[in-house]
Structures are given as structure tokens and as C-alpha cells.
């Protein structure tokens, strides 16, 4: 791999995870906010809310993980390594 390709790959890997984390971060924040409000209003529903919250958090996390997969491909299985 020449140095330009590897430099670009490393920068792109960092950007893929870093930018990909912004959206899900905001989303998880507002989901947690909703869950906390729900629990405050209705403490007896805590178990159900927690289960749903964890499941939806994992869904949002998947979006960052897609970025991570791209980053891993760039670092460890680079198709442009030539």
C-alpha cells in the first residue's frame, strides 16, 4: 500500500466512526430522555420501559457500528491496497 492510500484510509476510518457517532449519539440521548420522563411519570412501568429502551438503543448503536465496519474494512481489508 503506498503512503497516500494508507494515510487516506486511516483518516477516512477515523471520520467514518467519528461522524457516524454523532447522529446515534443525539438519538440515544433523546431516547434516554423520553425513557426517564416516562419512568418519572409512571414508575410502575419501569421494567417495560427499560426493556424497550435497551432494544432501541441497540438499534441506534447499529448505525455507528456500520461506520465501524467501514473503518475496519479500510484498516484491515483495504480493497485499494493493491
Amino acid at each position: 500500500m503506498d503512503s497516500i492510500t494508507s494515510a487516506a484510509s486511516v483518516v477516512a476510518a477515523g471520520l467514518a466512526v467519528g461522524l457516524g457517532a454523532i447522529g446515534p449519539g443525539i438519538g440515544q440521548g433523546s431516547a434516554a430522555q423520553g425513557a426517564v420522563e416516562g419512568i418519572a411519570r409512571q414508575p410502575e412501568a419501569e421494567g417495560k420501559i427499560r426493556g424497550t429502551l435497551l432494544l432501541s438503543l441497540a438499534f441506534m448503536e447499529a448505525l455507528t457500528i456500520y461506520g465501524l465496519v467501514v473503518a475496519l474494512v479500510l484498516l484491515f481489508a483495504n480493497p485499494f491496497a493493491g
Binding site: 441497540a58 457500528i65 456500520y66 465501524l68 481489508a77
Partner: protein, 242 residues
């Protein structure tokens, strides 16, 4: 490849290196097969032991199996619906148990003690081929579920509620297996990498919280995969009431 310097024997990172077996014209990843066989063997052994001498009041392994069965049944019934869930319970249950035991086995079994000529043993679900195979099975399953229950009326689902949805629903058929497989693969590989990098930097104690987080997310990922598979099947067999 960017190999980390192998300063510590327990913290090597070998992404993209495999133990290749030649099978006809195919090159297969041997380490994935070996660890899958261990997982399958463990599951079969537990189920066999648990169902050997069944009691009216369950104890020990039988109790655990009945708890799991209840759990998976509730999951399938909630997503697929009362009418069709019985047909799909074994499929959903197998997916859940295989993924769950793979994920936890990859983290909990000390694979490093077994030395391979190349590559390393780990969770079978940390290899993208495994997760893509599982996700394609789910795709086949929901097509089969819809077609066998509704016949060609299944394709009405693509133009409901309006025909404008048609392209989106077709694209969805491709994105479903894609996201299912990438989600599982990425999560499990990320867990293993985080633990490996931390163990490389600080070999003692510091990786432990990351390991516990990894166990937690692995369990959630197995649950999510099974829930989504059940949800897709439920979507395919769902009858619109006009």
C-alpha cells in the same frame, strides 16, 4: 494489514487472517467451522442432558431449558402473532440460542490456549460469512412464510397501503439481510477488538469493564437478531383486515 506489535502473547490482533481449508474449489475459514462445531456440540449436549429424564416438576438443566423455551415462545408470539408463531418457534429459538452461545462462547471460552497454524479461534459470529448466512436464512424464511400462508396474495404487501411504496418495499428486501448481518458482525467484532486493544495497552483489570459491556451487548444482539427475524416473519404472515 496493520498488525499491532505482538508484545504480549494474549493480546495479538489477527483481523483478516484465517485458517484456510480447501474444499473442492472453495477456500473456507476453518477456525469459524471449528468454533461453530464447539458451539453446536455444547448446545446439543445441554439439550440432550436436559431432556433425558424429564420430570413433572423441572429441576436443574430441564428447568433452564423450560425457562428458555418460555422466553423464546413469548418473543415469537409477541412478534409473529398467535396464529402462526408455532411454526416458526424452532427457527427463532435456534437462531437465538446459536447466536447467544456463539457470542458468549467467543468471549468466555479461553480459545487462546488452542494454537492454530494461522488465524485464531473466536466467536463464529465475528466472521461476516456466518452472519450473512444467518441473515439470508431469515430472508428465505420470511419469503417462505408469506408465500406459504398467503400464496401470491403475499405480494399485495408490496403495494399496501399505496403502490408508491413499491420501490421502497423492494429495496427493503435487500437492506433487511444487509443490516441484520452487519449489525451482528460489527457489534461482535467491535467487542473483541475493544477488549484486544485494551488488553494490549493495559493487560490487567482495565479490560474487565469492557468485557462485561461486551457480554451485555452480545446478549442484546442475540435478542435483537431473533426479535427482528420474528418481526420480519410476522410482517410477512400478517393478514390485513379490511
Amino acid at each position: 494489514m496493520l498488525p499491532l506489535p505482538p508484545a504480549l502473547p494474549l493480546a495479538e490482533l489477527e483481523v483478516g487472517q484465517h485458517l484456510y481449508w480447501q474444499l473442492g474449489n472453495l477456500k473456507i475459514h476453518g477456525q469459524v467451522f471449528l468454533s461453530s462445531w464447539v458451539v453446536i456440540g455444547a448446545l446439543l449436549a445441554v439439550v440432550w442432558i436436559g431432556t433425558r429424564k424429564m420430570d413433572r416438576d423441572p429441576r436443574g438443566v430441564q428447568n433452564l431449558l423450560e425457562f428458555l423455551w418460555d422466553y423464546i415462545r413469548d418473543l415469537a408470539r409477541e412478534q409473529i402473532g398467535e396464529k402462526a408463531y408455532r411454526d416458526w418457534l424452532p427457527f427463532i429459538g435456534t437462531l437465538f440460542l446459536f447466536i447467544f452461545v456463539s457470542n458468549w462462547g467467543g468471549a468466555l471460552i479461553p480459545w487462546k490456549l488452542i494454537h492454530l497454524p494461522s488465524g485464531e479461534l473466536g466467536a463464529p459470529t465475528a466472521d461476516i460469512n456466518t452472519t450473512i448466512a444467518l441473515a439470508l436464512l431469515v430472508s428465505l424464511a420470511y419469503f417462505y412464510a408469506g408465500l406459504s400462508r398467503k400464496g401470491f396474495r403475499y405480494f399485495e404487501y408490496y403495494v399496501e397501503p399505496t403502490p408508491i411504496m413499491l420501490p421502497f418495499k423492494i429495496v427493503e428486501d435487500f437492506t433487511k439481510p444487509l443490516s441484520l448481518s452487519f449489525r451482528l458482525f460489527g457489534n461482535i467484532l467491535a467487542d473483541e477488538l475493544v477488549v484486544a486493544v485494551l488488553a494490549f495497552l493495559v493487560p490487567l483489570i482495565v479490560p474487565l469493564p469492557a468485557m462485561f459491556l461486551g457480554l451485555f451487548t452480545s446478549a442484546i444482539q442475540a435478542l435483537i437478531f431473533a426479535t427482528l427475524a420474528a418481526y420480519y416473519i410476522g410482517e410477512a404472515v400478517h393478514e390485513e383486515h379490511h
